[in-house]
Every structure is written in structure tokens, then in C-alpha cells.
């Protein structure tokens, strides 16, 4: 896996050179878009990370963790992951804030940390996508979309838990 990013960069840059495109100009244009995408997230991240920080500092997360620990430990599921499972379909930036909290408290290379990363990277926010993509259309009813997307999200969680055990 350590070769993949250098290899992709090499491939893309050499392709750009062979096809004689203005590689650096295109790069800077794209990089600007990428930077703006993240910077646009700042306001919601400030709100959400602070809210989670308050919950952690107040001891509320510990209490929740203690309640959930027993049932979840039977299944071998780290209790830190439950907030992420609940938040992922609702808001992308909230999920990002929860993943950050998990990585900071359990460590990025711990089992819980790795599962959180896989969950984050393998599913998308259902409600946001539905609201944004149906803009400007008469579509109001979306039969079957929410249940199907939630089932897919749930399976993504289960797959993430299993695969991080094996790999």
C-alpha cells in the first residue's frame, strides 16, 4: 500500500507529460478547488468538533460508553464506534468530527480507529445527497431510497468491522 500514492502520482504526471498538457496549470486550478472544498467545511467543523469536545469534557460520552460497553463487548464492537454509526447517514461533517474524536482518543492505528476510517471512507451521507440532488426537479417522493441506503450503510459498518479484524 505504501507504493500506491507515489505510483499514482508518477502515472498521472507522466501521462500529463506524454499528452503534452499544461500539467502545472491544471494542477493549481484543481488544487484551488480542493482547498476551497475543505475551507468551506471550517464553520460546520468548528461547531461540531466543539459540541463533541463539550460532551467529552462533561463526562457525558464516558457515561454513554459505560452503558453501551457491556452489550457491545459481546459482539466485539468497540463502543466508541456507535456515535459514528448513528451520525454517518445524517451529516458528513458531523461524521468527520466524530472520526477525529475517535482517532484522537483511541489512536489512528487502533482497531476502533481503523474501523472508523473505513466506515468514513466507504459510505456517503444519505440525506444530504437526496436533498441536494433533487433540487430543481418535481421529485418529492423517493420510494425505497432511504431504507436501501440505510441498509447499505449498515452493511458498510459490518463489513468494516469484519475486514479490519482480518486485514
Amino acid at each position: 500500500m505504501k507504493y500506491i500514492l507515489p505510483a499514482l502520482i508518477f502515472l498521472i504526471v507522466s501521462l500529463g507529460l506524454v499528452r503534452k498538457v499544461a500539467a502545472f496549470e491544471h494542477f493549481t486550478r484543481g488544487a484551488k478547488e480542493g482547498a476551497m472544498t475543505i475551507l468551506n467545511l471550517v464553520p460546520s467543523l468548528v461547531g461540531l468538533i466543539t459540541a463533541i469536545g463539550v460532551l467529552r469534557a462533561s463526562g457525558a460520552l464516558e457515561i454513554l460508553g459505560n452503558i453501551l460497553q457491556t452489550p457491545l463487548s459481546y459482539l466485539g464492537v468497540p463502543e466508541e464506534l456507535l456515535p459514528l454509526v448513528m451520525v454517518r447517514p445524517m451529516s458528513g461533517s458531523a461524521a468527520l468530527a466524530v472520526v477525529r474524536d475517535i482517532l484522537e482518543n483511541c489512536g489512528p492505528d487502533s482497531y476502533a480507529g481503523r474501523v472508523a476510517c473505513v466506515m468514513m471512507g466507504s459510505s456517503e451521507t444519505v440525506l444530504y445527497t437526496m436533498a441536494v440532488y433533487t433540487q430543481g426537479t418535481p421529485v418529492k417522493k423517493l420510494p425505497g431510497v432511504i431504507p436501501a441506503a440505510l441498509i447499505a450503510n449498515l452493511f458498510a459498518c459490518i463489513f468494516a468491522l469484519l475486514i479490519c479484524k482480518i486485514l
Binding site: V21, G30, T37, I38, V54, S58
Partner: protein, 191 residues
Amino acid sequence: MLNIIWCVLLMVGILCGIATGRTEAVTEAVVNCSREAVTFAIGMVGICAFWCGLIRILEAAGGLAALQKWVRPVIVRLFPSAKKDPETQQNIITNLTADFLGLGNGATPSGIAAVQGLSRLGGDGERASRDICLFLVLNTAALQLMPTTVIAMRAGLGSQAAMDILLPTWITSLGAVLMALLAYRICRGRR
């Protein structure tokens, strides 16, 4: 929805802090976490900007067109109502490939255009056609080549092997995409 959840989270936190006698810790958390949130976002800007820049080179060099050519047969089969509308077909393909390459907001305009096109073709009015629903379901189980935000976050928080989650993430999202298709078939089939 998030409006309510966010307020409740803060209120629960503050009340719980008072009950457990940790009001000072709560105050400290507000000051520190809001600052950390900005540093966290700034820390992700670099790698995400780099990746988006790279993908733009790939696009300019015709790599994106090649990728779209490969997925076209699958998309055509999945969305039969767009068969006679190449523009909508192209929008669906653009959106799904942009998602795959992690262009984030770059996928949104083509996604909206694709739903508009499908809604025109489907002609069901308020009730979304089968193809619109399928398109949205596929979008929520997006397969991603390089989850840049997750990798940036791992690297920023001191991971020894930030890239190690790639293979599990690919397997998981592929599984989730298949489950999304299957679950949609079942959920829609009942009606």
C-alpha cells in the same frame, strides 16, 4: 435535523458538566476545540488540494474520458430510461466517476443535472422513477479510489501507516455498493 441534534448535544454536554462538577473543563473544551477544529481543517487542506490538482491533470490528459469509457456499458445497463438521452447518460457517468476520484463538490453539478434529466425522462412527477432512486442509492454507497480526508486525518493524528486503510476501504465500499443495489431491489420490489 442537524439543527436540533447540534443544540441538544451542546445542552446535554453543559448540563452533564454542571452535574458532574466539570464546568471548568467544559469552558476549556469550548475554547480549545474550536481552535483545534480550525487547525484540523487547515491540516487537511494540503493533501486534498494536491489530490484534486492531480485529478485535474488526469482529466486534461484524457484519463477521465478513458475511465468513463470503461464504466459506460455498466451505466447504460443500470439506467435503461436514459438509453435514448446521451446527455443524461453522460451526467450520470460524470457524477459517478467524480465521486470515485474523490472530487467531492465537483460531483454535485453533474449529479443535479443527472436527476433533472432522469426526472424528465421518467415523467412520474413527484414520485421518483426507479432510475432516480437507484442513482441516489448508488451515490450514498460511493466507491472511492483515494479517501483523501480520511488519510489526511490519520497522518495528521500521528498514524504509523496512514495508507493501510485503503484496501479495507475499497473492499468495504465495493461490498456496500453491491448491498445498496440488492437492498434497493428488495425495498422497491415490495411496493
